[in-house]
Structures are given as structure tokens and as C-alpha cells.
Amino acid sequence: MTTTAGLAHADTGAARAVALRVLGVLGVAAVAAVATALWLPQFYTATNLNSLLLQASILGIVTLGQALVLLVAGLDLSVAAVMSASLVVVASLSGEGLGGIAVAVLAAVLLGLGVGTLNGVLVAYRGVAPFIVTLGTAALVSGLQLVYTRGAPPGAIPERMRGLTQDGIGVVPWSAVLCVALAVALHVGLRRGTYGRRVYATGTSLGVARRAGVRTDLLLVGIYALCGGLAALAGVVLSSYVGYVDGAAGKGYDLDSVAAAVIGGVAFTGGKGGVLGAALGALALTVVLNVLVLSGIGSHVQLIARGAIIVVALAFIAHRAIKK
């Protein structure tokens, strides 16, 4: 019985460690924020907080999808390509009318769902490694986009769409409200719903879930589709934010979304972590990157710092996961 008690203790210890890590990340972000207030007073201007929340909401939405995929021990590296393609679809299909915008947004989200479904089918039914599948579909989507636009994307982002990111409640843009709403909805589904039970069971042990009657194949396809759809939605918000047509606007969001989710406590190995943590991870990462920008470091050095932060964060957290 002593070993039993010991193990149980170790488990609550592990849960506490996760909580501590999340708190630690938030703490670091808070310290950074206070330090910034002293060194970089412009951090707390309404303009900066607004753009920070805006960027965080775009990263947040795509990170929600990435977190779902990570929860079932997968990985989606096609989200950046989907975001770019989504922006191009919005630009080329929508006119200035509301109906046109609705059609364009719908088309973009359908594209994301489609790519995600393809990812899921290949992973679940063909057993291909998620890493390979999603790198492949990323190339596929980018290639199709190039063929469609011939390198020079047509159209423009309608003025009406800009409200999504330019208007809001005080410094909080509508896109951040959207992100929080999505996070809360997913959180409830995962933590309270039977859906979450199936997702966490599948992520923890596919074998156990299957034997319990969970249709793990369908569930995986659904998760990847959801991730693709969320990436497309993030692309729609990105188009509103950027305001012009850029065929590579989503670049970097693949790695950033993985980093944000992992920083937010989602384990690479599946079954551990949650979407709220992932969203907070997106916020933390954005804050850090924002401070780098404000501190006046040159853009090239920023890129190095950004890469270093992601690599260090992933290496640190992944290493701990392996040790367990």
C-alpha cells in the first residue's frame, strides 16, 4: 500500500507541476510586463495593447486547433498554408457586399475543413505520420494557391471586414472576443462533454479508447478537420488585420501555434493539457514577441530571438515530457 500511496502522490505531484509550469509562464510574462512598464512605457498605450490582443487573437484561434490535434497525439504543420490560402480566398471571392463577404468567409472555412479532413483521413485510415501528412498537404495547398493566383493574388480585402479587427470594446478587438468565445466553447466541450472524454481517452491511449467502443478513426478525422477550420478562421481574421492581399501572410503560424500550445501546457505525447492553457500560451508568446518589437531590436535580430524563444521553450518542455 505504501507504493500505491507513493504513486498517487507522484500523480498529484505531476498535476501540481503542470499547474506550477503554467503559473510560471504567466509569472514570467507578468514580470516581463512590469519590467516593460518601466523600460518601455509605450507598451501600455491603448494602441499597443489593442494590437497585442489582435495578434494574440489570431495566434490564439489557430493555436486552439493545434492544441486539439496535439491532444490526440498528432501535429498539424499545414495551418500556416491554410491561413494564407484562406486570406487569398477571402480577397478574391468577396466584393463589398455583406452577402459576398459571407460567401467568401464560408468558402475559406470550407477550404480549411477540407484540408483538415484530408489530413485526418490520411492519418487515421492510412496510418501515415501526422508530421509527414501535414507537411505534404501544406505544400499541396501552397502550390494550388500559386497556380490559382499565378503568383499575384487578385482582389482586395473588403473594407467592411476590417471591423472585425479594427473595432471592438475599448482596447479589446472583436477578434479577441471571438477567440475567447471559441476557447470557452471548446473548453466546455472538452472538460464537460462526452466529446472531451473520447478525445482525452484517444490521446492517452488509442488502444483503450478503441476497445471501449470509441470510433477513434472518425474522431481523429473530426479533430483534424476542426483544426483546419480554425486555421481558416484565423486566416479570415488575419485578412481583416493585414488589410491587403498577401499570399504568404500565414507564414510562421505553423511553428508558432505548436510553440504556443506547448508553452500553454499541452503535451506532445497526447492526452495532456487543455485549450484554455493553449490560448494563454498564445497570449504569453505574443506578449514576449511584442516586447521584443517595442525594445527596438532590429527586425533581423527579432527573428533570431523569436526562433531562440521557441526552440528553448520546446526543448525545455519536450525534454521534461520525455523524462516522464
Binding site: T4, A8, A10, T194, T204, G207, G213
Partner: protein
């Protein structure tokens, strides 16, 4: 390994057939958690001897071999090789001391050639670190000559038959000058002429002075091949004796040995047929299996590891799709190859591998119990914590799970309590499954938990479920079952009534008349 060429030249056979003791294992004991895998086992191996190691599944053979191979450390006891006490702290140390184990699963790289595999990691170097292929080829040819069979040195291993791959493994042992070669069920994968050739190789090794530990379940081959035999049972050495004058019936008696508790079940009237399996082939081109289990009946399935027992369980669970045949539950055909269809049809299969297939270790008892019962504990897609907790409490009460805490994480429970949770989550399904399949339900769990599991099996049958009990522990099968099916090589080798003896079961399992 600097000059392996020289070490390869076999010493004159005459010198080697003296009775020098190569290996002396004394008082080897090993405990795994609550299970005493070995207690004070002795084993002697002489140079130029084929020594058979015999015992039921779980008798301790594998553990003893692991100790010899340096893969595990004994709690007590010593290993002497050539009169010197060896620590055998690591597989590398055991290898350096001259011990080689040829496992049933080979450790060859399929895409490399035979020659490359033979010297993988131990290449003979010429100047400037180049591989000395000529020396390697020469050494390999000599090893082949010593075995008495040719080796196709330049063929890729993946193009070889199983028998040929096995020879490559044995040749590799010879190349690093192994004095002691352990062959773990080498004949299990062979038949006919290949089998004869294996025996020739083994005799050749013996004649050149190597000590061979030979593990096999095929008793008939042991009586002709082995010089001596050591029989293990329940982690103890029963006897070591010369093979001459020993019959197969003697061996079975030694392996099984103990008196059997009188079967406790009353003969009872069983209900309607619940499970009908007809014409199912577990392996491609394998034999067909037919069986029926009635309501209220416990059918035990015995057989050696690899005889198809677990594959049968997995076929019923929908994890494995059989190559042919039909499964009916209460008259309705069950879609094969779909775990969900099996669950929906009313089957509950308790898997052999608790950790990977039975329980979600990081999750709580209530989450584990809820997983196959999500519809019962939810409303409108949301889990109702209260119903979930009540269901988990039912499991805890019915199977006496400790701790009595629905929110305890399953990974922190003892093996026995984990198993109770795995069984319990099917037990509380509604409607109650009509068929329960238990695959090794008591492996690695303590005695009180074992009794709980046995009680649960008896209760289920009494309540009208059909039960299949698969177990390597013969006393368990004999005690808990109304009748026993013995599997061998993917087929049902025979059926025994309640009250059959362990000898009866073993002789069906190994395929020889007792």
C-alpha cells in the same frame, strides 16, 4: 574482438567432450513486485552438452535466461562461468563472458546483407579504420563450416527464410566465440527438413564443445536431442536429470506436478447458446475454429503462448479481423474487425495488456469507468459528474477496489486494483454484456485480487453471461471453467471436461499423447 579470426578455429572435438562444467548458476532468486519469479534455482551446464530447459509458461525460464544474459539482475545467487564468478551486470558483460542468447525474435537488420549483419557493430578493422571485408568473409565462412551449413553471405537478410535467418543469428554467436549458447524455442518457427537441419547444427555445436541451453515445448524433439533436462515449476527447480531413460510422460508430470484442487463448480444446466464461432481462421491459411459458449457457462481456453489464444480474444473484440468465418452473438451475426460493433453487440473483452489496452492510467477511476458508459452518464452531450461518480462507486463496491476513491488516478493503483477497474467498467455496462472474454485476467496481480477476479467470473456466469477465460495458469483454468478448450498452432486441439488434469491439458497443448 581485435582478432576474432584466430578464436574461430574450433579446438579438437575430443578434448572438448570432457565433463568440464562451463556454467554454474547457484541459488538464483528474483522477485518482480509481488511475484517470486525464481526462487533459489540452480543450473549447471557442461561443455559439449545440450541441456533442455523445460517448464510451463510463467515457470521462470525466461527470467533465468535473462539473468544469464545480463538483461536482469538476480536478487540473490551467483553465476560462475569457467569457474569464475561473473557479475553479468549488463548484456555486454554477459557477452564478453561468452554467453549468447538466440531469441525467438531475431535482431537482424533486414536490409543489410548476411555478412554485414554478422559483423554489425563488431566490424573487423584494417588500417585507417577501413572494414576488412576479406577477414570478415573468412571468419564468416569458418563459422558456417563449424555449423555445417552454408551461409549466403551476400544476400540481404530480408530475402532469407526464417530458418536461414536463425542460422545467421547462431553464426553471430559463434563469431564472438560464445561458449554458452541459449536457444529460446528455436524449433517453434520451423518444420520438416529445416527442423532436421537445426538439430544437426545443435549437435554440431555440442560436438565442438559448446554448451547449449535449449528451450522448447516440443517434448518429442527434446528426448532425442538433449543430454540432460532441467524442469522448472513456479520459479523453482523441480529436477535436473539425464534425458536417457526419461519419457515424454515423465516430463509432463514433472512440469505439472502438483495435485489439482477438485473442480469446485457444480455441474449445472447452462442456458441457450450465446456465442457461436464458426469457420474462423485466425491466421491466413490456418485451421478453422468452431466453438460455442452457452449462457451461464465458463469456457476455459488453455494453450501455450503463440497458440492463438490472444488472437482469438482480439478477433472477438474486433481488434483483429479473422481471415474467414462468422461470429454470432445470441443468433445475430457480429460485424468482424470493428471494436465498436463488438461492444454494441454485447461483448466485453478484458485485454491481456492492462496498461496499453485496458486502462487509461493518467485518468481517474470514474473517468475510466465512464468511457464505455458515456451514454449512461451523460445528458445532451454533457457528462453528469454525479452519475459518473455513482457508476464508479458501483465498481468500487462490487470488486472491492482500493482506495475507495472515485477520483484516484488509476496509474497509482496496484496491478490488481487496476485490473478490477478494467473489469468493472464492462461489468456496469447496461445492458450487461452477454459475453465476457477474460484474457490472462490475473497475470501479475496479487492473491487477494486474484480471488476477487475469480469471484467476479463466477458471479457473471451465475447471472447468465457467457464467459471465456483465457489463462496460462492451468490451475486457474481448471478451477474456474466448466469445460476447457486447448489451443495449439491456431487450432482447437481438443476439448476437456470439468475435472480434467493438468497432464491432459499439457499433452494437448504440446501435441503429444501423455
Amino acid at each position: 574482438m581485435t582478432e576474432p579470426v584466430e578464436t574461430l578455429i574450433p579446438p579438437p572435438a575430443s578434448m572438448q567432450r570432457e565433463n568440464t562444467t562451463l556454467l554454474r548458476m547457484r541459488g538464483i532468486s528474483k522477485r518482480y513486485g509481488g511475484v517470486q519469479a525464481l526462487s533459489a534455482v540452480d543450473l549447471d551446464l557442461r561443455a559439449g552438452e545440450v541441456h533442455a530447459l523445460l517448464g510451463e509458461n510463467g515457470a521462470g525460464k525466461s527470467t533465468l535466461i535473462k539473468v544469464l544474459a545480463g538483461a536482469t539482475q538476480p536478487d540473490e545467487g551467483t553465476v560462475e562461468i569457467d569457474g569464475q564468478v561473473s557479475a553479468m551486470a549488463t548484456p555486454a558483460a554477459a557477452r564478453a563472458a561468452g554467453v549468447s542468447v538466440v531469441h525467438q525474435e531475431f535482431s537482424l537488420v533486414p536490409t543489410l546483407t548476411v555478412l554485414e549483419n554478422l559483423f554489425l557493430g563488431t566490424e573487423i578493422r584494417a588500417r585507417f579504420g577501413r572494414v576488412d571485408w576479406r577477414a570478415q568473409r573468412r571468419a564468416a565462412t569458418e563459422a558456417a563450416a563449424r555449423m555445417g551449413v552454408p551461409l549466403a553471405l551476400d544476400r540481404r537478410v530480408e530475402t532469407l527464410s526464417i530458418a536461414e535467418q536463425q542460422r545467421v543469428e547462431i553464426a553471430r554467436s559463434l563469431l564472438f566465440d560464445a561458449k554458452i549458447i541459449v536457444l529460446d524455442e528455436p524449433s517453434a518457427v520451423l518444420a520438416g527438413r529445416e527442423l532436421e537441419q537445426l538439430f544437426e547444427i545443435v549437435r554440431g555445436l555440442r560436438d565442438s564443445g559448446t554448451g547449449v541451453v535449449y528451450i522448447s515445448h516440443r517434448l518429442s524433439e527434446l528426448t532425442s536431442l538433449a543430454d540432460r533436462v532441467t524442469v522448472l515449476r513456479d520459479g523453482k527447480r523441480v529436477e535436473t536429470r539425464p534425458m536417457e531413460g526419461t519419457t515424454e510422460a515423465d516430463l509432463i508430470r514433472l512440469m505439472v506436478g502438483r495435485d489439482i484442487d477438485a473442480a469446485r463448480h457444480d455441474r449445472q444446466h447452462h442456458g441457450d447458446v450465446v456465442l457461436e464461432v464458426s469457420g474462423v481462421r485466425l491466421f491466413k491459411g490456418g485451421p478453422e475454429i468452431d466453438l460455442t459458449v452457452a449462457a451461464g457457462e465458463v469456457v476455459g481456453i488453455a494453450g501455450l503462448v503463440g497458440s492463438g489464444r490472444t488472437r482469438l480474444a482480439n478477433s472477438l473484440a474486433g481488434i483483429h479481423r479473422p481471415h474467414a468465418g462468422e461470429v454470432r452473438l445470441c443468433g445475430r451475426a457480429v460485424r468482424l474487425g470493428s471494436p465498436r460493433a463488438s461492444v454494441a453487440a454485447g461483448m466485453a473483452v478484458i485485454p491481456e495488456n492492462r496498461r496499453d489496452e485496458g486502462a487509461l492510467l493518467p485518468h481517474t477511476i470514474s473517468e475510466n469507468v465512464a468511457l464505455p458508459n458515456l451514454r449512461e452518464v451523460s445528458r445532451g452531450g454533457l457528462v453528469r459528474r454525479e452519475s459518473e461518480r455513482k457508476l464508479a462507486e458501483q465498481v468500487i463496491a462490487r470488486l472491492d477496489v482500493r482506495p475507495k476513491d472515485t477520483e484516484a488516478r488509476v496509474g497509482g493503483l496496484s496491478g490488481g486494483n487496476q485490473q478490477k477497474v478494467v473489469i468493472g467498467k464492462s461489468l456496469v455496462r447496461s445492458p450487461v454484456p452477454q459475453l465476457f472474454v477474460f484474457d490472462e485476467p490475473t497475470r501479475g496481480i496479487d492473491v487477494p485480487a486474484k480471488h476477487e477476479v475469480h469471484r467476479a467470473i463466477a458471479d457473471l456466469a451465475a447471472a447468465g453471461s457467457a464467459v471465456i477465460l483465457i489463462s496460462s495458469e492451468l490451475p486457474e483454468v481448471l478451477q474456474c471453467s466448466h469445460r476447457i478448450l486447448v489451443m495449439r498452432e491456431g487450432a482447437i486441439a481438443g476439448e476437456l471436461p470439468m475435472g480434467a488434469s493438468e497432464e491432459d491439458v499439457m499433452s494437448l497443448a504440446v501435441g503429444t499423447p501423455a
